[in-house]
Amino acid sequence: MEVSAEAKRIMVVALGKLYSSRTQRGGLRLHRSLLLTMVMKSARDMYHAAQETAECVAADWEQQQSTTEVTTEPTGAQTELQSPALSLTSPREEVETSPTELRRDAENKENVCPPGPHHSRKRRGKAAVEPDFLPCKKARLEQQNCPQQLILSSVLLDYVNCSNELGAPPAAMPLQRAIAAC
């Protein structure tokens, strides 16, 4: 699980850096954005590989357990991770690689991976259908009201949490304020 925790943290940091580079003097640096995207991809691949290993192990004793409970963590994380990438749309071509590349790879992965016993692993975009009884983060409960704002804030929450273990998670903030804060 350490690999997936580290991978997740790396992805979150990369997103934070991509966001903050938008306000940098001199505009977006293509080289840096590309490297960050590659790190994110690399971390995401390792994260999924780690998850798949975990799930294979889980599949063995799956038959005795409730099927949905096990998939909470990875599914939630996957949707969470993919959605911020989608909300990263930018008119400038320099950043196009980031969201669209991720989305394309996400779709490819979906096509390549055989459907597992847990169909809820498949990504369904922002409007992911999750059973209400699943324990989930506050951000996703509010997803039905304003998906764009809170997907971003949940990512930033993670970023803050990873980098400051002692601090309490801040309240969700609107999108504009979040970008201004970067």
């Binding site: 505009g27 590309l34 490297l35 690399s42 971390a43």
Partner: protein, 450 residues
């Protein structure tokens, strides 16, 4: 290679308050370059200024005062600009300076920021005409009634004045950020490289350039690598090399095609699968590439190593030097504090026997290719009193066996980075840029190259 190096630090005279350790960002040196004879040394900074140092002629009376570098000229090369179409500010930071070989009394250099390259003429004036008929000494028009005879103006000596004027401005040719410029050995053309394209210019023509490399994919989503540095071969005017963020080098021949997208040679080292990590791509990105003076070898720098390649062998580098391998286990922290994106430059000495590159904590390293010995030195005020001999430094692993004067990896100051270094073309004189300070070290014992 002598380790007994006399230190004659010449300090950049701006913007450093020793009390507060506060550095004005505009004063951070962003490029350093000797001219072809080594007589002049140019530095560019983040504020768009260029400072040129000149070496004092050697004085036979007092041998130790010879060859010091003093400020020759300072000028503002680039100003911040605003691209209204893209709503982007264009930084005035000087990314690169390259000197042209001297062909007459004046010196010429090219300086570039992210978007615009400029050609500057640096000339001296030590005489001025005096004795005008219509103007007086201050330049005021004389009352014609006071003019009773005519005289021919004569040239009289005056205090030396260094004049710098922009001769050419090469603009609007780059969509992405310019990272390199390189003057061709034909002394008529030069190239400028940005993240995705390389353009060839004629030094006299500013309104057009030829695109010789274009790696922009049709669909930007397919982008996998960018150009990180480019240089012309020192002798063959048709050959140039460019490095990529994937750690590859491509040698291109302009005789083959107008658009050199297809390389003549591809230099790539197969990745070691055991060394794979999250950050493999970032650390393998080449930050600088330099031809050797002979033209036979290439020197590249990536985040952790410096490599020497033989132009005749594409499969792997000839030599690999670990610059700061103790950072390999710290990559995650270096990624979080952004240091992993630092772009270090590298340099050859005049005889191609020693290579040099910078590191953190104001350390810089030199590797002797023949003896295989290496040394770590520090560029700091405390350790660089004039005429002092630099003491070799050592970095030890955290918690490892420590000698006196060793520094532990965890105590390294990552804000003090030496990204830009330059080596005199013929002598053992090096220029080290440490944030906003310039250090010039001379090896008095072994001043000739061997």
């Amino acid at each position: 290679m002598g380790e007994d190096t006399d230190a004659t630090p010449t300090l950049n005279h701006r913007g450093f308050l020793p009390d507060h350790n506060y550095v004005t960002e505009a004063d951070i040196i962003s490029t350093v370059e000797f001219n072809h004879t080594g007589e002049l040394l140019a530095t560019g900074d983040k504020g768009g200024r260029v400072v040129i140092f000149q070496r004092e002629p050697e004085c036979k009376i007092e041998p130790f005062s010879q060859g010091e570098y003093n400020v020759y000229s300072t000028f503002q090369s680039h100003e911040p600009e605003f691209d209204y179409l893209k709503s982007l500010e264009i930084e005035e930071k000087i990314n690169k300076i390259r000197w042209l070989p001297q062909q007459n009394a004046a010196h010429f250099l090219l300086s570039t920021n992210d978007k615009t390259i400029k050609l500057w003429k640096v000339s001296e004036r030590d005489k001025r005409p005096e004795g005008y008929n219509l103007k007086d000494e201050e330049g005021r028009i004389k009352d014609l009634s006071t003019v009773t005879s005519l005289q021919v103006p004569v040239l009289m000596p005056m205090d030396l004045m260094v004049e710098v004027s922009p001769r050419r401005v090469f603009a609007n040719a780059h969509t992405y950020h310019v990272n390199s410029i390189s003057v061709n050995s034909d002394y008529q053309t030069y190239m400028s490289a940005d993240d995705l394209r390389i353009n060839l210019w004629h030094l006299d023509i500013t309104d057009r350039s030829f695109n010789i490399v274009d790696i922009k994919p049709t669909n930007m989503e397919d982008l996998t690598e960018v150009i990180t540095a480019a240089e012309f071969h020192p002798h063959h005017c048709n050959l140039f090399v460019y490095s990529s963020s994937k750690g590859t080098l491509r040698l291109c021949d302009m005789r083959e095609a107008a658009l050199c997208d297809k390389h003549s040679k591809l230099f790539e080292e197969p990745e070691d699968p055991s060394a794979r990590s999250f950050f493999s791509e970032i650390v393998s990105s080449v930050s600088d590439v330099k031809f050797s003076h002979s033209g036979r070898y290439l020197l590249t720098r990536d985040y952790l190593t410096a490599k020497v390649w033989d132009l005749n062998m594409e499969s792997k580098p000839l030599e690999t030097y670990q610059v700061h391998d103790y950072l390999r286990s710290k990559l995650c922290s270096l990624y979080e504090n952004d240091c992993i994106f630092d772009k270090f430059e590298c340099a050859w000495n005049g005889s191609d026997s020693v290579i040099m590159t910078g590191a953190y904590n104001n350390f810089f390293r030199m590797f002797d290719r023949n003896t295989k010995r290496d040394v770590t030195l520090e560029a700091s005020r405390e350790s660089s009193k004039p005429r002092a001999v630099l003491k070799p430094r050592r970095v030890c692993a955290a918690g490892g066996k420590r000698r006196k004067d060793d520094i532990s990896v965890d105590s390294l100051d990552f804000t003090k980075k030496i990204l830009h270094t330059a080596w005199h073309p013929t002598e053992n004189i090096i220029a080290i840029a440490a944030t906003n300070n310039l250090y010039i070290f001379q090896d008095k014992l072994n001043s000739e190259m061997h």
